[in-house]
């Protein structure tokens, strides 16, 4: 196996090292979403160097990867290969021009969930690597338009009424929506009341008469 690739795979296996590394990069160590972003999201890469002893395509005749071959790899592997200049990252499909145009036209009704569940987190991770300087402002403006729609729906409606909206939202937006829903539900529960303390049955009867 190519020593460079081996090293990066070993680093993945010793995931503690990697997580500490990303912890230093201000991601949170225990954030399951942060782990899942790196696991699930695939990034197209173009190999810059030949790599021996790996089977990326099972039907390939040789156990090596030619320079210039295009493969989709999970983010964690693509990231390491990119930094070691073995492979070069391309912009993933969910950040292509078409998505950008759609989000610019009507951000609130674009189905981001099916494109990339961790749209914003992934965008933040990928931006410095593919050298996209507009990514930050693009993500921000997309989030702004979508935020307004979530705000309008989140605090006032029954959960089921917006299953269509929910099916469009990314993970981060869903968290936002659910936070609003649960706090509103908690407030309503408090307002309707119910027993404040455990009351003796005698006192309970007395209060009903008063009402």
């Amino acid at each position: 196996m190519d020593p460079l690739l081996q090293e990066s795979v070993l680093e993945k296996a010793g995931s503690i090292v990697r997580r500490v590394g990303s912890f230093l990069k201000m991601a949170s160590y225990y954030d399951i979403d942060d782990i899942l972003v790196e696991e699930q999201q695939r990034v197209p890469v173009v190999f810059q160097q030949a790599v021996n002893g790996v089977d990326i395509d099972p039907s390939a005749e040789t156990h090596c990867v030619e320079p210039g071959s295009k493969v989709e790899l999970p983010y964690w592997l693509a990231h390491e290969l990119h930094l070691r200049k073995v492979a070069k990252m391309k912009v993933p499909a969910c950040f292509n021009q078409r998505t950008k145009l759609e989000l610019g036209a009507d951000g609130a009704s674009v189905d981001l969930r099916s494109r990339c569940l961790y749209f914003y987190e992934f965008g933040c991770k990928i931006a410095p690597l593919v050298g996209d300087r507009d990514m930050g402002s693009f993500l921000l403006s997309a989030f702004r338009t979508r935020y307004q729609k979530i705000l309008a729906k989140a605090h006032n409606a029954a959960f089921t009424a917006h299953s269509k909206l929910l099916s469009y939202l990314t993970k981060e937006e869903t968290n936002l929506y659910e936070a609003a829903q649960s706090s509103m539900a908690a407030f309503k529960k408090w307002r309707i009341g119910g027993p404040r303390f455990e009351r003796a049955s005698v006192l309970g009867r007395k209060r009903k008469e008063a009402n």
């Binding site: 590394g21 914003y120 309008a152 609003a180 649960s182 509103m184 908690a186 408090w190 307002r191």
Partner: protein, 212 residues
């Protein structure tokens, strides 16, 4: 607690906010004679029949439950004042009227425990419900406008404890996201980054060597 997966964004439950509201002072008229109560949070009393005195809400409720006093509703809970506030709330779309910080909780506690002491109970209750609903709609619309500003901040004055508490998890998360995506160092200088990175890999290699 309203099941937060993220421990950084905490929320008080309605009961907890109500608990804090119980420290607000309220005027009671006792119908018994009692020595002053010396509490950690202060001295209350002495209590004489028909002599009004100031006590915290929790003490007032405890006495009321035992039938030892009547609670005087606070001045802002009069029908005239509430009608005025409701009109003002409906008139201006941006500004919030000045109400006690715990008005939702105090009124709800009084309705539950001292409904007999409030004159025009139904009127007051529906006025307060209307004010609360009107204000909450305004909270939402004012939150809508804040992402237009360059800075990710919104200035909303005179919010009450319960209103803040309801929007806290949402706003907290939203602001975090705005901050994250709006921060200018999202795209750092590539050279500086690769330099830092190669340094880091050097460190790792050195460490493994030493271990062998």
């Amino acid at each position: 607690m309203a099941g937060q997966s993220d421990p950084n964004v905490s929320i008080f439950s309605g009961e907890e906010v109500e608990f804090m509201a119980e420290d607000e002072m309220v005027e009671i008229v006792p119908n018994m004679r009692m020595e002053p109560l010396n509490m950690l949070c202060g001295d209350f009393g002495p209590f004489y029949p028909q002599m009004a005195t100031q006590v915290p809400m929790w003490l007032a409720i405890a006495l009321k439950k035992r039938g030892k006093c009547t609670i005087r509703p606070p001045e802002w809970m009069s029908v005239e004042n509430l009608t005025q506030i409701l009109e003002a709330e409906r008139e201006s779309q941006a500004a919030f009227q000045v109400l006690p910080f715990h008005y939702v909780e105090i009124s709800s506690l009084l309705f539950d425990y001292a409904s007999g002491d409030i004159s025009d109970l139904y009127m007051v209750r529906s006025l307060i419900n209307d004010i609360r609903d009107a204000r909450f709609l305004k909270v939402e619309s004012s939150l809508e406008s804040f992402e237009d500003a360059r800075s990710s901040a919104v200035k909303v004055k005179n919010l009450s404890a319960m209103e803040v508490n309801v929007v806290r998890p949402f706003v907290g998360r939203a602001l975090q996201s705005f901050y994250k995506h709006g921060s200018p160092d999202l795209v750092p200088n590539p050279e500086a980054m690769s330099a830092r990175r190669s340094q880091a890999t050097d460190n790792i290699q050195r460490r493994t060597l030493r271990r062998r």
